[in-house]
């Protein structure tokens, strides 16, 4: 969009209704509101005269849709609220609902959230930054004794949601609750039963690890207990040195000890394993599983599916601030799209693989990338027909693993 030719906000007649907002050469383009004589309202982004991008439409019937538009139609991820309150969340194409990606029927009385005791509840949470990024209509809950993974690439809105859970920011819409307490107005009360691990390690540089732990312990009004010592030994943390001089991994361990030492009932952990070496990651996974067995409720964010799979019961995938799905990790695992690097004996073999109906990607020399999503038998059968010289697992980003949730535009 050329900034110079963009005009100031104006009100014009458009498609039989009234438009107020940004225009380009007299055509709605940018952000604007639109009202049709029949009462239909649209508020959101426009491209060349049609709603495109993120927007909200409210129908005269009382129904409403919030989500993505393309060429004037519902397209992409969106949430539709029926006049009777039923919610349809999922993927839309050219105005039609294609499939729910929530993986569960939110309106059903059988919904697991309605049976179990919910500890962490995020209700219709929206929080936008000035840049327009943020989280939109997040809606999920974590039950007692459950480990919930919050999956998404960097910048998807994981930390934004966590800030609202900790009461650092005030929701623009909706609310968050932990153990029945409001995360904004009663955040101090929540902290006594909450263990929080921030995503960024920012400590009191001039203190030693022990001094820092003492401070937090005293501020919590707790006496030193054996748990702190156990955790320090378990993670092989040396808390005697100054925090400024600690390595990233050591700081992360200190953060973990801080979050766990008062034995809280609920945990909110922002990328807990970042900076930990694989061995320590295992130690951490064991700790999470132990805490889960003790009935603790845990929400942890991650951009690594394998780690989430190892620890969590359910996971929510967040994409550009919208919750794309909430699913059991096992069903996520089955929809996981894995890439294998297969080195073949000859060019012929490559053709064999392709004709077997397998999805193949980049080819370099005799090595080909093959994508497998559950169809392992087919993959192995095809491989059996070829001369295989090598087989490697390709590292993939979350977007690549969950292509179906991240849509076609992301590769």
């Amino acid at each position: 969009m050329d900034k110079d030719s963009k005009q100031a906000k104006q009100t014009i007649n458009w498609l039989g209704g009234k438009y107020h907002g940004e225009t380009i050469q007299g055509i709605p383009h940018g952000k604007g509101r639109f009202l049709l004589p029949n009462g239909t309202k649209y508020d959101g982004e426009w491209v060349e005269g049609k709603p495109e991008g993120r927007g909200i439409v409210i129908y005269p019937s009382g129904g409403a849709y919030k989500g993505n538009f393309e060429a004037g139609k519902k397209d992409g991820f969106g949430i539709y609220r029926n006049p009777d309150g039923r919610i349809t969340r999922g993927l839309w194409e050219k105005g039609d609902f294609i499939k729910p990606v929530a993986g569960e029927d939110l309106n059903s009385a059988e919904h697991p959230a309605k049976k179990r005791e919910e500890i962490i509840i995020i209700e219709d949470l929206t929080f936008t930054y000035k840049s327009g990024k943020g989280v939109f209509d997040l809606d999920f809950s974590v039950g007692k004794g459950e480990v919930f993974g919050f999956l998404g690439p960097n910048g998807a809105g994981k930390t934004t949601a966590i800030r609202n859970l900790l009461g650092f920011t005030r929701p623009e819409q909706g609310r968050c609750r932990i153990n029945g307490l409001d995360c904004w107005s009663e955040s101090a009360k929540i902290q006594s039963m909450l263990g929080y691990l921030p995503g960024e390690m920012a400590f009191f540089d001039e203190m030693s690890g022990s001094q820092f732990l003492d401070l937090i312990e005293q501020m919590r009004g707790r006496r030193r207990n054996s748990r702190r010592k156990d955790l320090i030994e378990r993670f092989e943390l040396d808390p005697s040195g100054r925090i400024r001089r600690m390595s990233k991994g050591m700081k992360q361990k200190l953060g973990i000890v801080t979050a766990f030492m008062h034995d809280p009932a609920v945990f909110v952990l922002d990328e807990p394993t970042s900076g930990l070496d694989p061995l320590m990651q295992n130690t951490f996974v064991d700790l999470i599983l132990e805490e889960k067995a003790r009935g603790k409720t845990i929400l942890m964010s991650s951009h690594n599916f394998e780690e989430t799979y190892r620890t969590c019961d359910r996971a929510g995938i967040i994409r550009e601030g919208f919750l794309a799905t909430v699913e059991d990790v096992h069903s996520l695992k089955s929809s996981q799209r894995k890439a294998y690097l297969v080195t073949l004996g000859s060019k012929n073999d490559l053709e064999k693989l392709r004709s077997a109906g397998l999805e193949t990607g980049k080819v370099s020399k005799n090595t080909v990338e093959v994508f497998v999503a559950g169809n392992y038998e087919q993959f192995i059968a095809a491989l059996a027909q070829c001369t295989v010289l090598g087989l490697d697992v390709a590292t993939q980003s979350l977007e690549q693993i969950f292509l179906k949730y991240y849509g076609r535009e992301v590769v």
């Binding site: 800030r163 900790l166 009461g167 650092f168 920011t169 005030r170 955040s187 101090a188 009360k189 902290q191 006594s192 909450l194 929080y196 921030p198 960024e200 920012a202 400590f203 009191f204 001039e206 203190m207 001094q211 401070l215 937090i216 005293q218 501020m219 919590r220 009004g221 801080t258």
Partner: protein
């Protein structure tokens, strides 16, 4: 209202700065006192007059001392007692709030069962207390040194009154620094305003001292309410009101800082 564990920790990580500033203030106090010659005030004044006039005026050194108390009021309380405590306030305010928010370490303080009001009030109390103590100890040291060097020469009640007004002035300056430290997410903005405004006040005060031409500038700086020579000679009008203004500014800005901090979004 406050958390003592945090107060202790804050004091522990900031006492070095306190000592440094106390040492600077005490050093200048001793130097100034040692320059005082009770037998020959006139000679001393002439010596000062050999300096360029404008510069001396800017530093507030334009008056004519008649005794030890007016000498100190002009040469110590006209400049040094304004500048160094101001720098102390700027540094401390930034360390107590803005840098915790900017670095993210505030997240740890707030992940303890203490309300934001409690955490930030603790920092405010430390700030106001340490600024007050800095000047109280300096007053005590100044009284002692002057009694040691010139027994019986110092008008102690006037000196104490002068220091009381100095404390109230510095508290009002500290409240400006603290307020801006509380309201921004990034330390650079907090510093731009929290340091910028007091420094601007200070520079405007130097300009206004130069001459009548800049007299109107007095309305643009808090420091114009503080005239040490008039305070010690008893010529200051409405001194009580001036003291109340300083106290009111301090109370208002400290409270506003706490209030805004407790309600705003923190991107920790």
């Amino acid at each position: 209202m406050i958390n003592f564990a945090l107060l202790k920790s804050t004091a522990k990580s900031n006492w070095v700065i306190f000592v440094i500033f106390f040492a600077i203030l005490l050093m200048y106090m001793s130097v100034m006192l040692s320059m005082y010659d009770p037998d020959n005030i006139e000679a001393m004044r002439q010596m000062m007059e050999t300096m360029p006039e404008g510069i001396m005026d800017a530093f507030g050194y334009g008056g004519s001392p008649t005794d030890l108390i007016t000498f100190m009021a002009i040469y110590y309380y006209g400049f040094i007692i304004l500048m160094f405590p101001m720098i102390y306030c700027i540094i401390l305010a930034n360390r107590l709030v803005a840098s915790h928010v900017d670095k993210g370490s505030m997240a740890y303080l707030l992940s303890t069962p203490n309300t934001r009001v409690k955490v930030i009030t603790t920092q405010a109390v430390y700030m106001a207390f340490s600024v007050t103590m800095l000047l109280v100890i300096n007053t005590a040291a100044g009284t002692a040194v002057s009694e040691l060097m010139f027994p019986g020469e110092m008008d102690i009640p006037a000196f104490l009154l002068l220091n009381l007004v100095t404390i109230l002035l510095t508290l009002s300056i500290s409240s400006i620094c603290f307020f801006f430290s509380c309201i921004f997410n990034e330390a650079k903005f907090a510093l731009a305003f929290g340091a910028g405004i007091p420094i601007l006040f200070f520079i405007i005060n130097m300009l206004r001292n130069i001459g009548d031409r800049f007299e109107w500038l007095q309305f643009l700086t808090l420091y114009s309410l503080f005239n040490p020579e008039d305070i010690v000679t008893g010529e200051q009008e409405a001194l009580v009101i001036i003291c109340l203004v300083f106290a009111a500014i301090a109370l208002l800005l400290y409270s506003a800082g706490v209030f805004i901090f407790s309600r705003r979004n923190l991107y920790l």
